[in-house]
């Protein structure tokens, strides 16, 4: 049973999404139950998988699809490969998916109407795609899974308001360029090595000493460009802010924490497993230097753009772009602290972005106002929501008990170790800007004046009139927020354990 965990946790949401499609229109309530069961079950399975992998001596295990026999020289079948890093991210994806399904219970009828069951079908497919990306060990399958996640997310975004369709269209164009570049890079690798298995490609490159080959360099650049487009690394970020802020709120709360982070993990996989650290960080190449500068630009620009926004969700999306800069820079520092810090930041960023997006969505829905003045005097009216928002905000700034502090700590340590002072300065600078952004909001929420907000909402109105009443936040929205903010603290407090797991797995691949 435990040998089949990787495939089981993919199959559960896959069949769940099929059932949701079969349930058809006007059946959102049943689809919600199906999604809860499949995602809850998969979350449990991924927890089991984490426990299993932590107990393994070798650090990872492989699952051969369809039971292809093992061959000594080269891989014929398709593999799933699971190690501690993959398990942690799969667990994060499943938990965010599960909590988000709870959150979407009252939002789906209000925002997508009769297409509710298709929403749940798409969201489960998206989770299958994301987990497949994380676990697959085949470069071409990775492309197909990236496209599965992208296609579902285009559709999920386009379900939003009038502008969502246009932002989704731009996302289609950018996303297709990115995925095609990735596919092209894989094509070059295939021409050169004749295999698609990530480990086999690496071994072949190693044994034939193909590092100097121009096609390999071109392949690396193409794959990096493709992955950067998908993760919205700064000059390629154009599609993200509109897509995430005009999407339906429960799509935004799901995709903002996960999509970019999973693509950062793909970048780590490509850099350390597919090409190997000797090639990527080779002292002759100027790439590390260049890309760290690019990430510095991304961090600074993302923070400034966030500061300039007056729209809550837009501001948060620009913060995501700055965070992507943290992670890319951290990985390219080329030392263990930087890599582990970047990986730890994937987890903590997933938790805090989820928390902030949920809190912001609740505020926008309940006050009916999407600009920052929505927060005026909210601590008195929505204390629980605001506490959740505060924890998320403090974690973004990086204050000690929260996980945001520890990821920044390790990233800065890595930056100092590598002597990349510009990266350290950019991190501190962005923390300062985050502090300005969030304390501005906290100040409004504590001392702001009440401007034209209707106060009372009766119990019957709760689900029918979302905008206008701010006192009554349904439990289905508060639970995910509370769990999210708790997980920020838990990831922060458990940083020692998580960090030791991460470094052990990274040491294994770095040799």
């Amino acid at each position: 049973m435990t040998d089949h965990l990787p495939i089981l946790l993919l199959l559960l949401p896959l069949f769940g999404s099929l059932i949701c499609v079969l349930l058809g229109r006007n059946n959102a309530a049943h689809s919600w139950v199906v999604a809860m069961i499949s995602l809850g079950g998969s979350a449990l399975l991924s927890l089991l998988m984490l426990i299993k992998v932590l107990g393994l001596k070798s650090g990872d295990f492989r699952y051969r699809m369809g039971g292809w026999p093992e061959s000594s020289s080269y891989e014929v079948g398709i593999e799933l490969r699971v190690d501690v890093l993959a398990c942690l991210i799969v667990l994060a994806v499943m938990l965010v998916g599960f909590l988000n399904t709870i959150y979407s219970k009252t939002r789906v009828p209000a925002e997508v109407g009769e297409k509710g069951s298709f929403f749940y079908a798409l969201i489960q497919l998206l989770i299958v795609g994301l987990c497949g990306i994380i676990m697959t060990n085949d470069a071409f399958n990775l492309y197909v899974l990236i496209e599965i996640t992208s296609l579902t997310s285009y559709a999920l975004i386009a379900m939003g308001n009038r502008r969502a369709a246009l932002s989704s269209f731009n996302y289609v164009i950018m996303g297709t360029i990115g995925a095609s570049f990735y596919l092209l890079g894989v094509g070059y690798l295939y021409i050169k090595t004749g295999t698609l298995n990530i480990d086999d490609i690496h071994n072949y490159l190693q044994s034939e000493d193909l590092w100097a080959s121009q096609s390999i360099v071109v392949a690396f650049i193409l794959i990096m460009l493709g992955v950067w487009t998908k993760m919205a690394f700064f000059p390629l970020h154009g599609w993200l802010p509109n897509a995430y802020s005009y999407a339906p709120s429960m799509t935004g709360t799901f995709m903002a924490p996960l999509m970019t982070k999973v693509m950062v993990y793909v970048m780590i996989r490509v850099m350390l497993w597919l090409f190997g650290s000797d090639f990527v960080y080779s002292p002759e190449s100027i790439w590390s230097e260049l890309i760290i500068w690019m990430s510095v630009v991304a961090i600074v620009a993302g923070s400034f753009l966030a500061l300039a926004r007056n729209d809550i969700k837009k501001m948060l999306t620009y913060l995501i772009i700055a965070e992507v800069g943290y992670m890319v820079g951290g990985v390219w520092l080329g030392n263990l602290n930087g890599q582990a810090g970047a990986f730890y930041h994937i987890l903590s960023d997933a938790a805090m972005t989820f928390c902030l997006f949920i809190a912001a969505s609740i505020v926008i829905i309940r006050t009916g106002e999407s600009r920052l003045n929505a927060f005026d005097d909210l601590f008195r009216k929505m204390p629980i929501t605001m506490i959740g928002f505060t924890i998320g905000g403090l974690s973004m700034i990086g204050l000690p008990p929260t996980c945001g502090f520890f990821s920044k700590w390790y990233l800065i340590k890595g930056g100092v170790e590598a002597g990349q002072w510009e990266f350290v300065v950019a991190l501190l600078f962005s923390s300062l800007i985050n502090a300005v952004i969030f304390f501005k909001i906290f100040e409004r929420a504590y001392f702001g004046k009440i401007k034209g907000i209707k106060e009372e909402v009766t119990v019957q109105d709760r689900d029918t009139i979302p905008a206008g009443g701010i006192k009554s936040v349904p439990l289905s929205m508060l639970i995910p927020l509370c769990v999210g903010s708790l997980s920020i603290l838990i990831i922060g407090i458990m940083n020692k354990n998580i960090f030791s797991w991460i470094t052990k797995a990274l040491e294994m691949v770095n040799g």
Partner: protein, 165 residues
């Protein structure tokens, strides 16, 4: 001058003919995706762009004077299996070893058969491309429904007064 051009064609263009074609097609597609104003024209560019990459893969699988990789063995079970091995084998030298162990009367010459793997991969890529195109067309229909036009500048004009970004 003529000699230089002729030698350029002979040494640079002809041997890498397939790569030139794919790069040119890809650039046409990319150009259309980025510069065109009409959303449908952008999508046509996207289709050209994806097709260019499919052409690259397909051209890689071709060998001169090679046949399609279907091996008829008059119902010899062992050889059918062997043929499958050959088809999936990514590295030719491995399958040659394989063959010398097993090969009795019908030895399979790997140079006689085209590599089918890139073609199989492209079947999947074509499916992905078609679904992307279909989805994008559906989305542009939705855009047309809410803005009444498919020209990007007209849509942006409509968004100007209300939009703050």
């Amino acid at each position: 001058m003529d000699i230089i051009i002729a030698s350029f064609i002979e040494e640079v263009i002809v041997p890498k003919f397939n790569y030139w074609i794919y790069v040119i097609l890809m650039m046409i597609g990319l150009f259309a995706m980025i510069t065109k104003n009409n959303l449908i024209k952008k999508l046509i560019g996207m289709a050209i762009f994806q097709t260019a990459i499919i052409l690259l893969y397909v051209s890689v699988g071709v060998k001169s004077e090679a046949n399609i990789p279907i091996i008829s063995h008059h119902g010899h079970q062992e050889h059918v299996e062997h043929a499958q091995d050959e088809n999936h084998s990514p590295k030719p030298e491995v399958s040659t070893d394989d063959k010398s162990e097993k090969g009795d009367h019908h030895t399979i010459d790997k140079d006689k058969f085209a590599n089918p793997l890139p073609h199989v991969l492209m079947l999947t890529a074509i499916v992905v491309g078609v679904s992307t195109l279909g989805l994008a067309l559906a989305i542009s229909q939705k855009v047309h429904g809410s803005f009444g036009t498919l020209e990007e500048d007209e849509i942006l004009d409509q968004l100007k007064p209300g939009g703050h970004d």
